[in-house]
Structures are given as structure tokens and as C-alpha cells.
């Protein structure tokens, strides 16, 4: 078989496939089909629909009415957009570094544990399995100013605990505290990464006279940088989309929904949900969703650019 100058490389490669390889390729597409269909129907389709709706006034019940850029103009003047975005960014800035540092510290402790490591790994991971709604309710009780466990514990060491759930200045720290409940997944990732750091590197560094901190900084951190980078990205995206726990605590709970300063706990996605399903402004909510999408995209791109400079991938040519 010969190829002509007009043949594309793909066509040439296709022709080179053996019958077995072609059959395998067909089956691969068959097995991929559910994902592709799911992606088109449940992801790409709704995304495009949401983009269209963001240029309309739509109350879910009646047909959308095209309004051009009105919703985007409203974004710029709505004080709650800035407020909820500020709350969300503040939470992300506090939550992500804390989760990473504490998780890494716990993972480094765990990696030294020779016996019962599996048990402790399970213990740290178990909270992640708790439904988010249950976590919200639980922390509402734990953070109660008067009888909550957190303030009782602070009281033991002589600290008069704050009003975590009612004082606007303490609401965010309370939510950040709650968010640490689910750091188990990061611990497990760091633990796996730490176990893959070659022992010889530490031994060589020790022979060269490196201190513990120097070994951590120059050996451990670079070797686990891909795990750190991964958790940085996923925790950042998750934090920017924070919803369930906070909604349960302050908006979905009958006791608190009418008696709480909502400004302090209104996260961006919560505001988006209110606009969409409580006030029936689905077009505006779609514009809010697209703004968040662009923000997450921008942050992730920046992180990826920085990551390329600092992250070490095993087996990668640099």
C-alpha cells in the first residue's frame, strides 16, 4: 500500500491499524459513548443553555425574553454580588492554605507511624464521608456561643469564646473552622506522595549535613509538589463553589434562616441559588454563574502557569 501526497496523517495512521486495533478502537468508542453522551447532555448542553439564558429575563415558568447585556450590567451595580464574592474569596484565601498546611502536617506525622497507619488514615478520612448537610447541622451546635463544644473547650483554657454564628465578624472564621472537617482527602493524598519520596535522597542530604528543615524544604517539598499543586487547584475550586454546609447552617435551617445576619454568610453560590430558585431570576442567576466560571477559569490558569514553574513531575523532561 502506498500513500499519496493528499493523504492526511490521520488517514494514513488509520489505514495502518490492524484489524484487531480497529476493533479495539471501535469498542473503545462504545465504552466511551456513555461518558460522551453524558458530557453533551448533562454538561455541555446545560452550559450553552445557561450562556443563552444569561442574556435573557427568565423566570423558569415563562419563555425567556432576550434582554441583551442587562443581566451583566446588573452584576456591576448589585451590592450583594460584591459582598458575596468578597465572602467567597476571603473564605478561599483562609481555607485553602489552612487545609494544605494542616493536612501536610498530619500526613507527615502519619508517615512516621509504623504501626496502625491504616487505622489513623481511616480515622482522618472518615469525616469526609459525612454528608455535607449533617456537617452543617453539627457545626451549628458545636459553634453555639453558650453551649457549643468549641467555646467550652476555649473556656477550659481561659478564653471567652466569640459568637461564632451571630457576630458578623466571627461568622467567617466559624465557617473556615467547619471547613477543616473535610481535610481527610488531602491528608490521604499527601501521605501517598510522602511515601513515594525516595529514602536515598533524604539519606544523601543527611550525609551532606542538611538539617531537618533543609531536608523538608529541599527534598520533601519538591518531591511532593505535584500533590501540593493538585490539592491547591481542587481545594480552590471547591472553596469558590462552597454551598451545602453553609446553606444548611444559615439558610436552609428553619431556626436560623429568619434570625441571622445573612450578609456575613452569603457565599456567591448561595446568592446565585437564591436568585434562581427563590426569586425566580434564572437569567440573572445564569449571568452570575458565568461570572463565577470565568473567575475560576482565570484563577486556575494563573495557578497552572505558576505550577509549571514550581512543580516537579517524576519522569518529566524539564
Amino acid at each position: 500500500m502506498t500513500t499519496t501526497a493528499t493523504d492526511t496523517p490521520r488517514a494514513t495512521a488509520h489505514r495502518r491499524l490492524s484489524p484487531l486495533a480497529r476493533r479495539e478502537a471501535r469498542w473503545a468508542y462504545v465504552f466511551l459513548a456513555p461518558w460522551i453522551v453524558g458530557f453533551l447532555v448533562f454538561f455541555a448542553g446545560p452550559m450553552l443553555a445557561s450562556l443563552w439564558l444569561s442574556f435573557t429575563e427568565y423566570d423558569i415558568v415563562n419563555a425567556p425574553r432576550f434582554t441583551g447585556l442587562d443581566n451583566y450590567r446588573q452584576l456591576l451595580t448589585d451590592p450583594m454580588v460584591a459582598r458575596s464574592l468578597g465572602n467567597t474569596v476571603l473564605f478561599t484565601v483562609c481555607h485553602v492554605p489552612l487545609v494544605m498546611v494542616i493536612s501536610l502536617a498530619l500526613a507527615m506525622l502519619l508517615v512516621r507511624v509504623k504501626r496502625l497507619q491504616g487505622f489513623f488514615r481511616t480515622v482522618f478520612y472518615l469525616p469526609v464521608m459525612t454528608p455535607a448537610v449533617a456537617v452543617g447541622v453539627l457545626f451549628l451546635l458545636l459553634l453555639n456561643t453558650q453551649d457549643g463544644l468549641v467555646n467550652r473547650a476555649l473556656g477550659v483554657v481561659g478564653i471567652d469564646g466569640p459568637s461564632w454564628t451571630t457576630d458578623p465578624h466571627w461568622v467567617m472564621p466559624g465557617i473556615v473552622l467547619m471547613s477543616l472537617w473535610s481535610l481527610g482527602s488531602s491528608v490521604v493524598i499527601y501521605l501517598a506522595a510522602l511515601q513515594n519520596v525516595p529514602r536515598e535522597l533524604h539519606e544523601a542530604a543527611t550525609v551532606d549535613g542538611a538539617s531537618g528543615w533543609q531536608r523538608f524544604r529541599n527534598v520533601t517539598l519538591p518531591m511532593i509538589s505535584s500533590a501540593l499543586f493538585f490539592t491547591l487547584i481542587v481545594n480552590t475550586i471547591a472553596a469558590l463553589q462552597m454551598f451545602t454546609e453553609v446553606y444548611t447552617m444559615y439558610f436552609g435551617n428553619r431556626q436560623t434562616q429568619t434570625s441571622f445576619n445573612a450578609d456575613a454568610a452569603t457565599f456567591y453560590v448561595i446568592y446565585l441559588f437564591q436568585q434562581a430558585f427563590q426569586f425566580l431570576h434564572m437569567g440573572y442567576a445564569s449571568a452570575l454563574a458565568w461570572l463565577l466560571f470565568l473567575i475560576i477559569l482565570a484563577i486556575t490558569v494563573v495557578q497552572m502557569k505558576l505550577g509549571n514553574r514550581f512543580v516537579y513531575y517524576e519522569g518529566e523532561d524539564r
Partner: protein, 447 residues
């Protein structure tokens, strides 16, 4: 291969079909009254009041395939179902939401339902009817009728050297002194609430007592910055600030076991507080020996006053069996049905050894019959007197009218009160801002 692919597609389709919404079960298309399927949403069967009425409907209409999707009303689920053209046939929701959904056309007028089924609208209480009527059109059938009264713990009043008669809620200046006598704050820690004004929830009632309404009768104009509303908020705020401030006050209140045997009444954690009438049922069941006295909330002239609220049945746009839905709503709220439910409650209470404290419905005829034929004084004077108080204040009820922006309006004034309580704004500033916001949302919704 083709056969395998077909099976695969079929499995996918069935899986997706299995994820169908609330309206996916039953629903005979275009069925006449009492035939086909009937799916409800937002309603549950937690007690004999609900179960008795549903059983009665099933007996009267065995040909209807009734599917009660239990659980609270979920706005996201409801709107998704309506938007997808697959709504339930009947929805049970808070009456304050009716105006918003009616304005958007997501629920149907009940005009045909009332006419075809011969429903006597006069049997429903006016305040309940107003909440389900927008621009003169009825959009819902009222269910329960919840009013607010003032509960007093006489044991605590006695400790303070007072009786229930000394508690005068028309004297707002006097409330401050009364609160100081009843509340216990030691070392900065609140251990007993003197008077709980129950704001933000009950601000509309305090405002009304002062001669102001938060929302105009047509549901289209806000009146939040009225000095009388400001004064009402200032009064509630003062009562809370005198008890350590909102943070301490709310945190302490959040520890209450309101529905259990260790209720704040039995634990002497609160002395005076306005609350819904259903708490009498809870108290009768859990703390029948409590020294409870129930008085009417009053305006500043001392006249009884109460805020009424409750749920309603509405038929969503696209309901496949509106005729059966209408029959169900009629049956559930009919006089005979309520009376049967009341009898079931009496039996249930007897078996528990606790008093029957009445059933308060949106159907005035039903209530008259229940209290004339079913209700028997329990012999516990405190609870028997409380029942009479609740019945009496029903004549002085008002409700927040239906509004095309009901949910948004609610949030605006609630947020304003919360900003005041948390110290972020003073009452005048917060309510002025709320007035602007409310005007904007009401104007937008009315377009």
C-alpha cells in the same frame, strides 16, 4: 453487536427515566374528577391529622391512584418539575409564596376548581383567603390557620412577685422594666430570657400593634421606613440588648429543646414570649404540668391582635389531573374531613394521657363544629383557658397579603432586622435601605 448496543441504549434510557421528577408517577392525562393518577408534593403523613384525611379521600375516591411524595416543599424541585412540563398535580406550600408563583403563572387560578366542585369559599377564614388571592383571583385552598399568642411561665412570674395579669404587652415602656425583672444575666451570661420579642419573625405583628403594616393590602407597596415600624423594631431591639445582646440571646435560645420534654417552659429558661398556637399542642403533650398561661398579643391600645399564617393547596401549571387535584384539595379542607381528623386526634391524645388542645384550621365552619361537638375541656384549667384564648384571638387576625414578590420582600425586611440585631446598622438606616430595596423588587415583580 447490534443487539448488545440496543440493550445498552435501553439500559441508559431506563436509567434516565428512573431519574424522573416528582410528577413522573401516575397522572392520568386529562382525567375527570376522581379518576386517574394524582401526585402531590410538599405534603407528608406525620400524624393522625394528615393520615385520617388522606384515608378519607382514598375511601371516597378509590378509583384515584394517589401518590403522596412525602417531604417539605422544595422550591427547586417544584420549579424544575414545572419547567420540564412534568409537575405534580397538587402542591402544598406556605401561603406567603402563593403570590409570587401566581404572578409568574406557575400555579393555576382556582376559579374553575371552586365553581366545578361547588366549594363554599365563605367557609374559609378571610385572613387565609387574602393570602391566596392576588389581584382578586383565588390561587389556593387554605389549610391550617396558625395564629400567635403570648405564652407566660407563671412560675417565673411568681418568683418575680408578679402574676400573669401584670404582664401588659400594650405598655411598651413597661416591657423594659418587666424584662429587667424577669431576665437573668449573670457574669455576662444569659441564663433566663425575660421577654423574647421574636424578631425578626414577628416584626409584622409588633408593627401592626403600633398601627403600621409592612406591606400594602394589594401587596405592591412597601412601608418599611414608617416611623411606627421603626419604633416597633427599636422596642424589640431594646428588649434583646438588655439581655446581653443578640449574640448571647440567640445562642442561648438555640440551645432550647422546644419540642421535647426539656422544653424552655419546663426548664424555666424563658418567662414571656409570643409564639404560634401549635406550641400549645407541644406543651400539652410534653409538659402538661407546666404552669403555662396564654394571653392574646395586643396592640398599644390593649386590643387583641394576631398574625395569621398557614399552608395552602395549589395546582401547578401543567398539572395532568387538575380535576382530581381539586377534588383532593376540597376533601382535605372540608368540614367533615377536619372533624374526622379532630376525632382521631382526640383518640390519640386519650391513649397518650394528654389533653386535646384543639385543631385550628382555615375552615371556620370546621372549627366551629370541632369545638362544639368534638372538643371537651380536659380539666386542666391552664390548657382549657389557653384554647379559649386562641379561639378568641382568631377574630382579630391579620395576614401579610399576597404579593408578586413575596419571597424577596420577606428577605428584604428580615435582612434589615438582622443587620440591626447584629449591630451593623441602626433601625432607621436599616429600614430606610430596606424600603428602597423592597420598592425596587416590588416594582420589578409588578411589571
Amino acid at each position: 453487536m447490534r443487539r448488545r448496543a440496543a440493550v445498552g441504549v435501553a439500559v441508559l434510557v431506563l436509567t434516565l427515566a428512573g431519574c424522573g421528577g416528582v410528577g413522573s408517577v401516575g397522572g392520568g392525562s386529562g382525567g375527570g374528577a376522581g379518576t386517574g393518577g394524582l401526585t402531590t408534593m410538599g405534603f407528608g403523613l406525620p400524624d393522625e391529622i394528615a393520615r385520617t384525611r388522606v384515608d378519607l379521600f382514598k375511601r371516597e375516591h378509590p378509583e384515584v391512584k394517589l401518590d403522596i411524595v412525602e417531604g417539605s416543599f422544595d422550591e427547586q424541585q417544584f420549579l424544575s418539575a414545572v419547567a420540564s412540563g412534568n409537575p405534580p398535580d397538587l402542591v402544598y406550600l406556605d401561603r406567603k409564596l402563593v403570590g409570587t408563583y401566581a404572578k409568574r403563572g406557575s400555579i393555576l387560578p382556582m376559579t374553575d376548581c371552586v365553581r366545578d366542585q361547588g366549594i363554599d369559599l365563605d367557609q374559609y377564614r378571610p385572613a387565609a383567603r387574602e393570602q391566596v388571592t392576588l389581584d382578586g383571583t383565588l390561587y389556593g385552598i387554605p389549610e391550617f390557620y396558625s395564629v400567635r399568642v403570648v405564652y407566660l411561665n407563671e412560675a417565673l412570674l411568681r418568683q418575680a412577685g408578679m402574676t400573669a395579669a401584670d404582664v401588659d404587652l400594650s405598655d411598651w415602656q413597661g416591657l423594659v422594666d418587666l424584662n429587667a425583672k424577669l431576665a437573668t444575666v449573670s457574669d455576662g451570661k444569659l441564663t433566663r430570657i425575660g421577654i423574647d420579642p421574636k424578631i425578626p419573625e414577628f416584626l409584622p405583628m409588633w408593627a401592626r400593634a403600633n398601627g403600621a403594616q409592612l406591606l400594602s393590602a394589594d401587596g405592591r407597596s412597601a412601608n418599611l421606613s414608617d416611623p411606627k415600624v421603626v419604633e416597633a423594631l427599636q422596642t424589640g431591639l431594646r428588649l434583646i440588648q438588655d439581655q446581653g445582646g443578640w449574640g448571647k440571646f440567640k445562642s442561648f435560645r438555640d440551645t432550647f429543646d422546644f419540642f421535647g420534654a426539656k422544653s424552655p417552659l419546663s426548664q424555666n429558661q424563658i418567662a414571656v414570649w409570643p409564639m404560634e398556637d401549635w406550641f400549645l399542642n407541644v406543651a400539652a403533650k410534653n409538659t402538661p404540668d407546666a404552669e403555662l398561661v396564654v394571653k392574646p398579643f395586643v396592640d398599644r391600645q390593649g386590643r387583641p391582635l394576631t398574625l395569621a399564617s398557614g399552608s395552602a393547596w395549589v395546582i401547578p401549571k401543567g398539572a395532568k389531573n387538575p380535576a382530581a387535584a381539586c377534588t383532593f384539595a376540597k376533601t382535605m379542607t372540608a368540614t367533615a374531613t377536619w372533624v374526622a381528623a379532630a376525632k382521631a386526634r382526640v383518640e390519640a391524645r386519650k391513649s397518650e394521657g394528654s389533653p386535646f388542645t384543639g385543631l385550628y384550621t382555615g375552615n371556620a365552619d370546621a372549627d366551629r363544629q370541632i369545638f362544639a361537638e368534638v372538643y371537651q375541656p380536659s380539666g386542666n384549667k391552664r390548657f382549657d383557658d389557653a384554647v379559649q384564648t386562641i379561639l378568641a384571638v382568631q377574630q382579630s387576625a391579620f395576614s401579610i397579603p399576597a404579593s408578586p414578590a413575596g419571597a424577596e420582600f420577606d428577605k428584604v425586611w428580615t435582612d434589615a432586622v438582622n443587620r440591626v440585631l447584629s449591630g451593623q446598622a441602626d433601625p432607621v438606616t436599616a429600614l430606610t435601605r430596606a424600603q428602597d430595596e423592597a420598592t425596587a423588587v416590588l416594582s420589578r415583580a409588578s411589571k
